[in-house]
Amino acid sequence: MHTGEGVKAFFKNTFYLGLPEKETVFSFTPGMSIRELLEKNDICFKQQGVAFVIEGHLEKASYTLKDGDVVTVIPIIVGG
């Protein structure tokens, strides 16, 4: 897994995503989307039932990452 300067990603509650429980810091190429970043790191997220929240807003996997973004990965919610 690549780490370094760039996007900060807090992968909370994502034991199934193949990531550490706590914060993981990824480096990325400018213009890269969340999807591209995860796929570059061999993380098949599509079937994992996750969504992404940045600054309190739900974002799609196609969201273009910005330097310093904090991405919270959450499981999709389909009912209580």
């Binding site: 909370k12 509650n13 034991f15 199934y16 995503l17 599509k46 079937q47 994992q48 039932g49 996750v50 969504a51 929240v53 600054e55 309190g56 807003h57 739900l58 799609k60 996997a61 196609s62 919270t72 959450i74 499981p75 999709i76 919610i77 389909v78 009912g79 209580g80």
Partner: protein, 623 residues
């Protein structure tokens, strides 16, 4: 040929008979919600007092009940609701339905009122009304123990209400094994009004499938594949509260009686924290390896683990909604509700309503037996639950539901009564998910969070979205969309969820988001019944159930004015990630009207004759 036996019990006369349903009836209605509506529309007169002798209480399993299929253990209890005065229905999983099926029945229709407290004892094709005077006032745990002792069989499964139902708390529930609740719409109060404490069942007969080998293979397939579904894995590990941090992150965790959608103490309430603190073990329903049920214990509050543990709805309700950040308190509130036999969702909203009224100066300590109802006051929460269960003090008012309580409190308190059609909200914030908002507004039972799979699962190219390509929905739909895209999503998912309520499937192991895909569900029903079926037929069954419930409500005088949300949700959220977000009232009601059109209902929300005909429901009159 598939047949189903119905147990008919007249509690006034003590007469018990058994009738057989034809395969035609079973195939039209499958069981659950649709079959219950079939009986209610045939046998319950409009205008009947829900707590009177003439209400009809229906318990329905399904054509799948008793077969070892994961997630197919649910059953329905239905009647006219004493909480809403409208269609009353609630589902529960657990172990009761398979036991009832093995006793030889698919349904029970219970009429009249017993002159004294009784319980119904059902075993292997026979039933008996037994005296329950000695159970009156007993908490559910003790009552269950006494029933099993006197019938001398620890394997008996008891579905019962508790002292709350006996005292006619309007949202009293029915519990099986003390922890699986037919929680909503006050079916426990209907039990209480009929002097019926419990239905105890024991079945030793084999439930047969058309293709036993296929059923076994499908169960094995599930066992081998459910761990490939990430959310099913999370449910296993953290229970339904696995989603709590997600709700917090998206600003949709109902807090302080829906004043806001984020709670500073959320981390202390989530499923992960429960696993690290009060969790004793996890349990499951019949034949299901996911085992998402929690069993909680705590020494400080003496939480009795016999009553299981809180689901997300209960944690959202007694937690963030009431400003409580201590899972031990939530677990105790849950235990008290299950002891008294009252719905944790309605009870927690009634408590948070009282707290907001207290905060606004509408009520004070002279009305609360000296209790200071500040948000976050754990002692007050637990005491209020006891007072509701015992119908003491302010608990008498709160036990009537928030609509009646607001009438009693006056002073503008109705704007803090968070309900639809008289039923309190489940712990979901409509301002962050418009499909849930539509579900709350349009559900025939009032605010029902299981009317459709929630929006966030379809807001991107997820596995859940992929699974509804079969329904013609191919692109993501934004969580706050209020266009035809959302209407199409809601309409289709409402039908599939409705079908689950008819077949007894659990929404948490089935499509669109979970392990059993729609194709697998078709295989299951075909193997169980021998019918050449399809998803199309499933959705028609689901629609039939929705339409019958709508007709029921129309007969009871409900109108489009009842298909709405409290004003709070049309106003901007004041704090948190959704600060400034509201539901556009005009757009929302436009979409409701378009839903009528799409559904084949007229401008008054009444199913047309053509729609009734299309669904083979000419026998009922919507007028």
């Amino acid at each position: 040929m598939k047949q189903g036996k119905v147990l008919r019990v007249n509690l006034t006369s003590g007469n018990i008979t058994v009738e057989t349903l034809s395969e035609g009836i079973l195939r039209r209605y499958y069981g659950g919600s649709a079959l219950a509506s079939y009986f209610l529309l045939n046998e319950l007169k409009p205008g009947t007092d829900p707590l009177g002798e003439d209400n009809v209480l229906v318990i329905t399993c399904s054509v799948l009940s008793g077969l070892p299929i994961p997630g197919a253990s649910r059953f329905t209890i239905a009647a006219k609701s004493p909480l809403t005065g409208a269609f009353g229905e609630s589902e529960a999983g657990g172990w009761w339905a398979p036991e009832f099926a093995r006793a030889g029945f698919i349904a029970a229709v219970i009429t009249g009122r017993s002159p004294k407290p009784v319980y119904l004892w059902v075993k292997d094709g026979k039933a008996e009304i037994r005296d329950a005077s000695h159970l009156t006032g007993k908490m559910t745990g003790e009552a269950e123990e006494l029933i099993r002792q006197e019938l001398d069989d620890p394997r008996i499964i008891v579905a019962q209400t508790g002292p709350g139902g006996e005292k006619l708390v309007r949202y009293a529930c029915v519990l099986n094994n003390l922890k699986h609740a037919n929680g909503r719409t006050g079916m426990g109060a209907v039990f209480g009004s009929k002097n019926l404490r419990a239905v105890a069942v024991r079945g030793t007969q084999k439930t047969e499938a058309a293709d036993e080998v296929a059923i076994k293979e499908l169960a094995q397939w599930f066992a081998q594949n459910w761990k490939n579904n990430a959310v099913n894995v999370r449910l296993n590990k953290y229970g339904t509260a696995h989603n709590l941090n997600s709700l917090q992150a998206t600003g949709t965790l109902p807090t302080f009686n829906f004043r806001r959608g984020d709670f500073a103490g959320a981390e202390k309430l989530c499923g992960e924290t429960m696993s690290d603190t009060i969790l004793e073990k996890n349990e499951g329903c019949f034949a299901c390896p996911v085992r998402c049920k929690r069993v909680a214990r705590d020494e400080t509050y003496q939480v009795d683990s016999r009553y299981g543990g809180p689901e997300y709805e209960t944690i959202g309700g007694f937690g963030s909604l009431c400003g409580i950040d201590d899972l031990r308190v939530v677990a105790k509130a849950h235990e008290l509700c299950n002891k008294y036999g009252i719905d944790t969702i309605s009870a927690s909203v009634a408590v948070s309503f009282a707290m907001e009224c207290f905060d606004e100066g509408i009520i004070d300590t002279t009305m609360t037996d000296g209790l200071s109802l500040d948000f976050g006051n754990a002692e007050a929460v637990l005491k209020l639950v006891e007072m509701i269960g015992e119908r003491q003090g302010i608990g008498v008012i709160l036990g009537e539901g928030v609509v009646a309580a607001a009438r009693e409190f006056g002073k503008g308190s109705e704007k803090f009564a968070i309900h639809v059609k008289g039923q309190e909200f489940a712990a979901h914030e409509p301002r962050g998910k418009t499909g849930v908002a539509l579900g709350f507004a349009l559900s025939p039972t009032g605010a029902d969070h299981l009317e459709m799979a929630h929006d966030i699962g379809f807001a991107d190219y997820t596995n859940a979205l992929e699974n509804i390509g079969i329904l013609g929905i191919l692109e993501p739909v934004d969580t706050m969309d209020l266009t035809y895209r959302k209407l199409r999503l809601f309409y289709n998912l409402q039908l599939t969820n409705s079908f689950n309520n008819c077949a007894g499937f659990c929404n948490l192991v089935t499509a669109p988001a979970f392990t059993f895909t729609f194709d697998k569900l078709v295989e299951i029903v075909a193997a169980a019944t021998g019918w050449k079926t399809s998803l199309w037929e499933f959705m028609k069954v689901g629609e039939r159930a929705n339409v019958m419930a709508r007709v029921f409500n129309t007969r009871e005088g409900l109108t489009p004015a009842d298909d709405t949300l409290p004003d709070r949700f049309f106003a901007p959220m004041e704090e948190g990630p959704l600060k400034g977000v509201s539901i556009d009232r005009d757009q929302f009601h436009h979409l409701i009207r378009e839903y009528y059109t799409l559904s084949g209902w007229d401008e008054n929300g009444v199913p047309t004759k053509a729609k009734l005909g299309e669904l083979d429901l000419e026998w009922i009159s919507a007028g």
